[in-house]
């Protein structure tokens, strides 16, 4: 994180952290139902990608980077994300 203005009510990284915790709990809740299903699976994957993006942008600090180094994590999330999505859609006979 960079140049955190002290006066904010909460550090951006703390906010990000809390969102990630919330998404993790929801993911776990879905997991505990053992329900499965294409929609739920892809939803859980989406949460993971959002969390990954948050780690890249705010924890690793790539949000503050310009040029090619802005992209590696985004692309990295996209590629396995897409592969997993395709494989799951196929596994549901799509």
């Amino acid at each position: 994180m960079q140049d955190i203005p002290r006066k904010r009510w909460i550090r951006p990284c703390t906010l990000v952290y809390l969102i990630m915790v919330a998404l993790t709990l929801v993911t776990w809740g879905i997991g505990m139902t053992a329900q499965g299903g294409l929609e739920l699976s892809l939803l859980v994957l989406l949460f993971a990608l959002i969390k990954g993006q948050m780690v890249g942008d705010w924890f690793m600090g790539l949000h503050f980077v310009q040029g090619i180094w802005r992209w590696p994590i985004i692309i990295w999330l996209f590629v396995p994300g897409a592969l997993i999505t395709i494989a799951f859609i196929l596994s549901y006979g799509g």
Binding site: W28, V44, W58, V65, Q66, W76, P80
Partner: protein, 187 residues
Amino acid sequence: MQKNKYPPGDLAIWIFILAELLVFAAFFGAYAFTRLKNVELFNYYQMTLDRNAALLNTLALITSSYFVVRAVADIREDDSKGCKRWLWAAIAMGAFFIVIKGGEYAHHFSAGVTLSSNTFYMFYLSLTFFHFMHVILGMVILAAVALKVGRGGYSADEHTGVETGASYWHMVDLVWLILFPLIYVMR
């Protein structure tokens, strides 16, 4: 806000991070497509995994990553003491992860599970174990950084080393964030 041309930390660690991420991406893709051919098997054995442990581990790594962010923020304000405290807290969370994951492994091994038991377990053990080794390596790196911080080796002006260790640790977190839903939840 001013933008940088390069990510925080030594560029060398970033080349490294990208190469490692590539390996994990290949494994994730392989998992998903192999599952395609063995959906029943994967769904069945996924149920033998401990999702509560996975939750604790996910929280541990997220929290640990957050602590590292705070450590970097502190050193940027020349606060070596704070930086050191956050780093050791992060390492403690890493240790927590190791203990929980070790418990899971102990459980599986005592049930006679091996890499050759079936394709699901092969992937489960390979993927989590490679990640496990990265957690250990990451902790070693963080500890080395923390020790140097403790000796007053970094400052607001010169703290590339802290950022380098931090970037590596976030990568370890990042990989787990995908691993967790993929192996424990998605079915």
